[in-house]
Every structure is written in C-alpha cells, then in structure tokens.
Assembly symmetry: C2
Homo-oligomer: 222 residues x 2
Amino acid sequence: MDRREVIRHVSFAGLLGDAALEALAASAVERRVERGTLITLEGDPAEAMYLVAAGRVKVARYSAEGREQIMHVVEAGDHFNTVPIFDGGPCPATTEALLPTTLLVLPRAAMHDLIQRYPELATALLHELAGRLRMLVGLVEDLALHTVHGRLARLLLQQAAAAKHGEPPPPLTHTEMAAHLGTVREMVGRALKSFEVAGLIALERGSIRILDRDGLRKCAEM
Amino acid sequence: MDRREVIRHVSFAGLLGDAALEALAASAVERRVERGTLITLEGDPAEAMYLVAAGRVKVARYSAEGREQIMHVVEAGDHFNTVPIFDGGPCPATTEALLPTTLLVLPRAAMHDLIQRYPELATALLHELAGRLRMLVGLVEDLALHTVHGRLARLLLQQAAAAKHGEPPPPLTHTEMAAHLGTVREMVGRALKSFEVAGLIALERGSIRILDRDGLRKCAEM
DNA sequence: GTCCGCATGGGACAAACGTCACAGCGCTGC
DNA sequence: GCAGCGCTGTGACGTTTGTCCCATGCGGAC
C-alpha cells in the first residue's frame, strides 16, 4: 500500500491538511516486522515514534519476575512511542508486534520539524496524548480501586462494546487478559468460571458470550 | 502578585516567547480558593484548564466505597485539568485544593485560540502531556507489578530525592501515602513499622529518616 | 499417526491485602 | 481543663490474590 494512502487513515488524519499529510508521508520510513519482534525496549534511548500502518502492537512493562502489564494495544492507524519524542526521555515501555506489522517510522527530528511547519499536527497530537492520558487514568483507577472480578467484568463489557462498533477484537487468551488486568492467568480462569456459574456469561470454545449484561455491570463495580 | 509574573514561572514558560506569555496572562482569570475546595468533579463537563499560581492541588479518583487514588499532586507553577481541554471529554478526575490556592483559569476556547496564534504553546503542552503520561505509566506499573512494601519504599526514596532537590515536600500522613499507593492507612503503618524494625528507616514524630538507602532500594523491587 | 507447544481447568496452599475494632496521643477550640 | 477531632499503633480476622502443580485437550509440525 502507498505510504500516503496509509497516512490518510491514521486516527488523527482528520485534523490535518493535505500538505501536512504529504509531509508526514515524506518523512516516514517504512519498516516491516514479524510477529513477536520487539520494537522498543523500556529504558532505551528513543529515536523515533511509530505509526502502525497494518498489524497490531502491544505496549507493556515487565516486572523483574517477568510479569507483564499491558498499557495499551495499538491497532492499525494508531501511534506509539510518542511520549519520549516530546518529553525527551527514554522509551517508557517495551513494545512488541502481535501480528506481522507494517510501521511508519517517524524520527524525532523529523517530527519536531514537521510540527514547526504544520501547527495543526501539534494540535492533533495534543488531542491524541490527552486521550491516551484519559485511558491511563482509567487503568490506574481500575488497578487501585477495583478487584480482579470487577476489572474482568469491565474488560468483557468493553470487548463486547468494541465488537458492536464494527471492529471485533480478537478473542484474548486468559494469559493476555491477565496482562491487561494486572493479575495472573489462574485468577482470570477462576473469575470467568465464577461468572459462568452465576449465569452471567457462557464459556464457549475460544469465545465468551455475555448472557446478563446488567449482572456484569453490577460485578464491574467491585 | 501580578498575573504576568506568575505566568512567567509556570513550568513550561521557558519554551514560550514573551508575546505568548503576555497573551496567556491576558486570557487567564484569577480565582482564589480555600483549602478543601473542590475545583473539578470527575465526569462534569470541562470548561477550562488551570494553572496553579500558588498553593497545591490534588488530582484523584474515588471508588464507590470512598477509597481515594491520587493521580498527581499539582504544585505551584504546574497545570491540571488539561486533558479534557484537548480531547473534548468530561473532567477525568476530581481535583481539590490542599492549601489556600490561587488559580489562573484558562477557558477551553481561549486555549484553542492561543494555540493557533502561538504554536510554541502547543509544543510546550505536548512536552507537558508527554511527561504526565510517563508518570502515569510508572504509576500503572507500580500498582500492577509491585507490592505495597515496594511501592512505599519507592515513595520514600522519591520524597527524599525531592527534598534534596530544593523543594521539601510536606510530610505526608499515612492516609495520604495510602491514597498515593493504592492501599489503606493500616497497610502503610504496618509497612513503615516493618521498615523500621529492619533498620531501614527511623520513625520520628511527623517525619521519616532514611537510614539504609540501599536496603530500601532492595525493598523497592518487590 | 506421534510429539510438542500452548491454552485451559482445577486443587491445595501461602502470602498479601483489607476490614474492623479499639486505644493512645496531641492539638484546637471552647 | 475538657471535649472533640484527626493521626497513629496494633491485633485479630477474613478475603483476595498469587504460587505451585498436575491433568486435559487441541492444533500444528514432523
């Protein structure tokens, strides 16, 4: 696919004019990576931010014992590693391709240059970063103020909502859900089981069907 | 104090030219609030962002049972409620003055206008939001991947580091620490006690002295 | 087919965490 | 002084969460 075509479909393209889009496309370097490729490592110096042209990327941190906390999953049209480009620090998280992925690499210098020339780009990025901040505030609230059951119920409801809005996210494994929820695989399995015996969900091979949306919402407040 | 004088001392003033600073000052409305005043409420529509000219403001979320999770404490020269101005959503958190506080209120429309006229302002805000994001990623990691002991050890080390860098933060009560750490008062008390018997800290009336910095750093990894 | 890796299910147990209750202490305001 | 309030200290208890371990099932690679 043409790079310009890709750029036209990034999440914040609507806020940019044609000239800015052209310039973005001209500054980007394409890079294809396989599933499992580590794109940035937490703590490494950051030279670029990335747009996902196709594929999917996981943004996460890891404990010394190897437990994973996912901050965000970046879909096609979205960006990552944006923070260090603007605050000048090292990469804040480790990022890994979850699928064969095509990236557009935007070097720091190029971004700063583009922002000078196309102020609309700065506005668009402010919008993006603000949204990301809101998401993270939600994640903090979840982790600090709710039980695993509550967080899981919320995750299930979110997934269901996303599925209705067109883009059906791939079914997550228990391990992946655990990494989103700040817990471990076994807890997810047990919590799902308890939702099933309570009649809130039906566990089918590889997928979960919600039977009692309101019941789940009750659980979500724990 | 003169409003312009205040604006000159906001954290990101260094990135702005004189004209932009003047314009910011001209757009701001001053507001004084007592300690304990709620400035924004989570979920309310947002009309403005705020600069703290003097005082201190707490940004937090609350569970249904009343437990508090502090996202951030805003000191003089810093800003808050910035997210909803740029992503268009409601206030993401409840904010409360911890001291008698002087605010500069920057209405959404004024900010958008200023950014059009002074693109440097957008750059400065990108820098700010990126830094805030990095902080929150750290908070998420803490909550998801570390025990209360580990988080507390880190908090003590941070406070000590901040004290060395000139601005001695006010000693926190156990309840306040708990709100930072996503736990409850009793846990903080017990964890401090355990650090004391381990010889890592000395508990003095109202303040905590670090005796074994390296020992604390070890604990911080839990 | 067999083997292997990965996802799942589940039991037993231990550690971490939160709740409740109560007591003491120091300060402020009356 | 004394009452009231907020901060602290502590013990007992139950819940939540995490760890370890093993068994099952499924699918792809060989």
